[in-house]
């Protein structure tokens, strides 16, 4: 007897249950000489594609099943069973397995009815119906089944009748088997040898085949500790409060150990041998033929009929693309036209060779559908390098004008489906998904899923919960975890100053030490499955026989496979990504049309508007796509862009690669004439003149290889990809040297160019991608320049950027755009543009329900507070909050002459008092017209004698109820102290000399710790003080002084020296930082007259 095939193995993709990744398990069994391995994840086929891929690579047979709850007719729990797909049956078993899993998820029980672990399950009768006469799967009845429980507890006949019922239920041959498992637990308990022995003799007495498994959860015994922690996360309870796994035996035991176990269970060698043989027989039956069973690697696109086309798809594509020429190159001259025709011809030849015509038609069809829905959209990524995409209306960037290459996107050297990503308005994304389902039918479409994995904080949180730490303690530790993976937690303790308190605790407290250990263990394990933020899978009508699906949060079915599984499974994934900036811009365009009656086509504005570039060059880029971050603002100051291509370059430069590769400085030096650009060889001048000799783009590499070696661009892209792999790079090196020598380049040139290419692999960026990003950057800058009010209204409504909304409000103040207070007669669910400014939206008020907002809008306008109270029926809390925020102030003003008295003006205090009167009424009077209530019919009399809240009180209410400071900037509350200390305003920094000592204060709006060339950590903090944004840099020494303040406090005071970073750029080299509120407390101790100001 040699080898043993494990048929019951959960991978780490069994969320919060399995510990080991499928690839690792497959490698282990292959190394030990086995030739097959099964995966059976809990409740799904989550890890199966990775498992099949790993097995194919290792040359062993993949087997796939699922570990699923099987239910009684009444929905109660019957068994947890492994259901294995048979193989080499032209996909019959695989399709049935997919269906079984999908049905189990679709009929998911309402919570409460069953234990959480069994909510996803399938009734035995449903299962029997799916398997029918033809079968296709084998169900293993194991220790965690009615039979398994009965052999331990019940009378002997009961177990026999239960097993007989299973046999009766299934008609297909080989549908059931009894799973013999011993985890060597205490005799008489589940998973004991005793239970296994009784299962064996019961099965033998009824002639049901038996197989041996080890119900595996992890690779090695040591991993059992990790499994304990995962169990805790699954139960949402600390260790010790639930029944844990009985011991550490559920590991992937080697064949010899399994054979010994078989003998221990069977008591004699011959029965053991027989048990092992039937196990291998079932394994043989289940060996998958991935190509013929799972359609592995076969591209599947919607059928012609589903796309609504007749005839040859390539001819249709040819016609559509050529029709696009008339539209997009209407005014082109003959030379350009011939270039367009030539390029399109080349692209279409490649597409036809690869057989991807249907794919392009599909994407074009979706793009057209999105346009028909009047939703802004734009292709991103390397797809923007395709003229075909441009002519089909998929991409909005002209690849010829911007010098983008098709070969970077697609070539005959590769045969995988290319990625075309479409950015759309985030607010309409779900509408698009539904429309896609409707258009192609639910048998051809599913959403894509993604597995999120444990990272630093999440791993620490679940570890802390497992150990029973207090929530507060966990929060405190989480706050100081920055920029390291959980795997290096212990290492980080010694080096990061903000973790020094924790490091001390770890030395003294055993539990804290365990926390570090198990946090490291959880790192990178899959955590849970969720809807991918943008992926839609489009297939032919067999899609649901290829992938299992489960309901997504959206209600639409979602595949259990993730994005890495798409290529191997030949599935076509379309990324429809919601981009808030697109929504914000669409909103601005609608407001411009509503308020000014101007129809604006943002995609056709001139792309060389000098005013727009002037705005950008001031570095006041808050709210502008991609270039609003502190680092981008600093770079903008140095770069001073003047044309569209500059934006493409700047976006591509501000990436970890170019920063590490020190590409920014030489580029800027060349551009500003500080240094002479070095092109190495005159042949490279046309390629690199746009970037002053610096190789930035993938397209540069392609062209350099093309010019210097004479290879095709397609071949060049293959070589570029090879550069990422050191071994493959060797072959490229040889080719490059050989060809360039042949073509007469000097050794000096060859070696210099090669060293750039060699170092380039991790740095470069696809220019098409940069250009696609630059478009919304330019468009948003254009809107900010010409329609700031409407643009800001769009930003407020859709919140696209990295900064909190209150910072954008400060930007509005700076631009002289007024943010108008809430008004129940004027505010809506969006930020509406009015002649005087932008009206705050009702949705900002915390605790106000969607229904209340909808009723307010529906019932507007109101004649007084009582009218509002009667028709909107707000909760007491909502009514009071609206009053505190001044939403009823417009009912105030001058009192009528008959009630003026001593108090001619209504104060907000009077209004709040009126609201409290209404809130004191026990039950709301009925509001039907025929039952007038006297108190509400007369003209409302507002109370008198209540004082107007102070400015500080108003701001404080705004901050606590909306997280916004509208009336004035929150920093104003501290103004007396700041003035006394000589704190500088952000907008004054630019006028100061280099290296001036300064103090600045403000609200923290961004904290970044980008990767640095030196490997040392640098912290960037941006503060907003109402006059603008200041950016401070903390290096090691400064961090050591104040790291506890840096990550924990919102209002900061920072000391440091100014540092010029460009014509318009100043940042601060920080020396120290303090908590502004703490300073205020100390300051006011000596000056009690200021005490009430900064109550907020």
């Amino acid at each position: 007897m040699n080898g043993f095939t494990h048929l019951h193995v959960a991978s780490a993709f069994s969320g919060h249950y399995g510990v080991t990744r499928p690839e690792t398990m497959a490698e282990a069994v292959a190394a030990a000489g086995s030739n097959a391995l099964a995966i059976a994840d809990r409740d799904g086929l989550y890890g199966s594609v990775k498992h099949i891929g790993a097995c194919l690579k290792l040359g062993i047979s993949p087997i796939v099943g699922v570990d699923l709850a099987i239910l009684n007719e009444d929905g109660s729990f019957l068994a947890r069973s492994v259901i294995l797909s048979h193989g080499q049956d032209r996909g019959l078993g695989w399709a049935k397995l997919c269906e079984i899993v999908s049905v189990a998820h679709a009929s998911r029980a309402k919570s409460g009815q069953l234990r959480k672990e069994h909510q996803i399950g399938i009734k035995r009768s449903q299962l029997a119906k799916i398997l029918g006469e033809s079968g296709g799967c084998t169900i293993l009845i194991g220790p965690d089944s009615d039979v398994g429980r009965a052999v331990l507890a019940g009378p002997k006949q009961l177990a026999a009748s239960l097993l007989a019922a299973w046999r009766e239920a299934f008609k297909s041959p080989g549908a059931i088997g009894v799973e013999i498992v011993s985890h060597l637990t205490e005799p008489g308990t589940p998973y004991s040898t005793e239970q296994a022995q009784r299962m064996l003799s019961l099965a033998d007495s009824l002639s049901v085949p038996t197989v041996l498994t080890n119900a595996v959860r992890y690779l090695e015994p040591d991993d059992a500790l990790t499994a304990d922690v995962l169990d805790s996360a699954r139960h949402l309870e600390p260790l010790g409060l639930f029944t844990p796994q009985p011991n550490a035996q559920a590991w992937l035991k080697p064949a010899l150990v399994m054979q010994a176990l078989a003998i221990e269970i069977c008591g004699e060698a011959s029965r053991a041998l027989q048990l092992l043989e039937t196990t291998e027989r079932l394994a043989d039956r289940c060996r998958l033929d991935p190509v013929n069973d799972c359609a592995w690697g076969k591209p599947k696109t919607p059928e012609k009929s589903a796309l609504g086309i007749d005839g040859n798809p390539f001819e249709v594509l040819w016609q559509k693309a050529h029709a696009g020429i008339d539209h997009y190159y209407r005014s082109a001259n003959a030379a350009l036209l011939s270039q367009v025709h030539h390029r399109l011809g080349q692209e279409l030849i490649t597409i036809n060779k690869l057989g991807f015509a249907t794919y392009f038609l599909t994407v074009a069809d979706v793009a057209q559908m999105i346009r028909d829905m009047k939703i802004r959209s734009q292709a991103r990524g390397s797809g923007a390098g395709s003229l075909t995409n441009y002519l089909l209306g998929i991409s909005g960037v002209d690849p010829i004008e911007h010098d983008l290459l098709f070969e970077r996107f697609l070539s005959t050297e590769r045969s995988t489906l290319p990625d075309i990503d479409i950015d759309v308005e985030s607010a309409r994304r779900h509408d698009i998904y539904r429309a896609i389902f409707k258009r192609y039918g639910s048998t051809r479409v599913t959403l894509l899923s993604m597995q999120s994995t444990y990272r630093g904080r999440g791993a620490m949180r679940d570890s802390g919960m497992a150990l029973g730490l207090e929530d507060e303690q966990i929060d405190d530790i989480a706050k100081n975890m920055w920029r390291f993976s959980a795997r290096s937690f212990r290492g980080a303790l010694g080096t990061k100053p903000e973790l020094s308190a924790l490091a001390a605790a770890v030395d003294e407290d055993r539990r804290m030490n365990l926390l570090v250990d198990i946090t490291e263990r959880l790192d990178r394990l899959p955590r849970h499955i969720s809807m991918h933020p943008c992926g839609v899978i489009l297939g032919d009508s067999t899609l649901l026989q290829r992938t299992s699906v489960e309901p997504s949060g959206l209600g639409l079915p979602m595949s259990q496979f993730d994005k890495d599984d798409m290529d191997p499974m030949g599935l076509l994934k379309l990324d429809v990504l919601g981009v808030r900036m697109q929504s914000a811009m669409a909103y601005a365009v609608r407001e411009i049309s509503r308020v000014r009656g101007e129809k604006l086509d943002l995609d056709n504005i001139p792309r060389d508007d000098p005013e727009t570039f002037k705005t950008i060059r001031t570095t006041n880029t808050l709210g502008i796509f991609q270039i609003e971050s502190p680092g981008q603002r600093e770079l903008t100051g140095k770069h001073q862009p003047t044309e569209f291509n500059d934006l493409t370059i700047q976006i591509s430069l501000f990436r970890p690669g170019p920063m590490k590769g020190n590409m920014i400085a030489p580029y800027l030096d060349g551009r500003h004439g500080f240094a002479k650009a070095d092109f190495i060889h005159e042949d490279l001048v046309p390629i690199l003149k746009e970037t002053w000799g610096v190789v930035i783009f993938h397209e540069h590499v392609l062209r350099i290889l093309n010019v210097m070696t004479g290879c095709t661009l397609a071949k060049a892209d293959e070589m570029r990809r090879s550069l990422e792999n050191p071994r493959a790079a060797l072959a490229v090196k040889q080719f490059f040297h050989e060809k360039t020598r042949e073509r007469g380049y000097s050794e000096a040139v060859i070696s210099r160019v090669w060293s750039i290419l060699e170092g380039f692999s991790s740095f470069g960026f696809c220019k098409a991608h940069g250009a696609a990003f630059a478009l919304p950057t330019y468009q948003s800058a254009w809107l900010k320049t010409h329609f700031p009010t409407e643009f800001l209204a769009g930003l407020f409504t859709h919140d696209p950027g990295m900064y909190p909304k209150r910072l954008l409000m400060a930007e509005a103040r700076r631009l002289g755009v007024k943010v108008l207070p809430l008004d129940v007669n004027k505010s809506s669910q969006e930020y509406l543009v009015e002649p005087e400014g932008i009206r705050l939206a009702l949705t900002e008020v915390q605790g106000v329900s969607e229904n209340e907002v909808a009723r307010i809008i529906e019932e507007q306008p109101f004649k007084d507070i009582a009218d509002f109270y009667l028709r909107v029926k707000p909760t007491r809390r909502t009514l009071e909050r609206l009053a505190l925020l001044g939403a009823f102030d417009s009912f105030g003003g001058k009192r009528r002459s008959d009630e003026a008295g001593d108090d001619p003006e209504v104060t907000r205090g009077d209004i709040i008092a009126r609201v409290r009167q209404l809130n004191a009424i026990k039950s709301r009077p009925a509001s039907e017209a025929n039952q007038p209530t006297l108190d509400f019919q007369v003209l409302e009399r507002l109370p008198t004698g209540h004082i107007e809240p102070t400015l500080a009180e108003k701001v404080s209410a705004e901050l606590s109820l909306m997280k916004l400071d509208v009336t004035e900037h929150v920093i104003e509350l501290y103004r007396p102290m700041l003035e006394e200390m000589g704190v500088v305003n952000a907008n004054e920094l630019v006028g100061l000399r280099n290296k001036s000592e300064v103090l600045i204060a403000g609200v923290r709006v961004a904290t970044q710790t980008p990767p640095m060339r030196s490997g040392k950590r640098v912290v960037f903090i941006s503060l907003d003080d109402g006059t603008g944004c200041s950016d401070s840099t903390f290096f090691d020494e400064a961090q050591a002084r104040c790291s506890h303040i840096l990550f924990n406090n919102r209002l900061l005071l920072i000391s440091g020296k100014t540092r010029r970073t460009g014509v318009r750029g100043v940042s601060i080299m920080a020396e120290n930082a303090w908590d502004l509120r703490e300073m205020w407390e100390q300051w006011t101790k000596a000056r009690p007259q200021f005490l009430e100001r900064a109550a907020g």
Binding site: H183, E186, S192, P221, P246, A248, L514, D517, R521
Partner: protein, 103 residues
């Protein structure tokens, strides 16, 4: 049944099964084939470290259930449970502790 926690000295056969032990100055001989199983420990209450690779010994402990009798009174059979900690890499010796006596 009595629970206890006392050191015993155990003699084993070639396959590692206990065949007899010395407890409170009496020698016991194992009468039937002993049953081995694995129990677990609440490591979160006692372990100092659970770093990766520490091994399952932190979590798991080997148990033996056996029927034995004193050498001088073979007819008087009693069931015992003995906990076994294997010798570890850092040099500590094997430990056998009697944890249950079913009398």
């Amino acid at each position: 049944m009595r629970s206890m926690d006392e050191n015993v000295s155990v003699s084993i056969n070639r396959t590692g099964e206990p065949v007899g032990f010395l407890w409170r100055n009496s020698t016991y001989r194992v009468q039937t084939k002993p049953i081995r199983w694995f129990a677990r420990r609440d490591w979160w209450l006692e372990a100092a470290t659970v770093r990766r690779g520490v091994g399952a010994g932190v979590l798991e402990v080997e148990m033996w259930r056996m029927v034995a009798s004193k050498a001088e009174a073979p007819e008087q059979k009693t069931q015992f449970e003995i906990l076994h900690t294997a010798p570890s890499a850092d040099g500590s010796k094997a430990i056998w502790r009697l944890v249950k006596v079913y009398d």
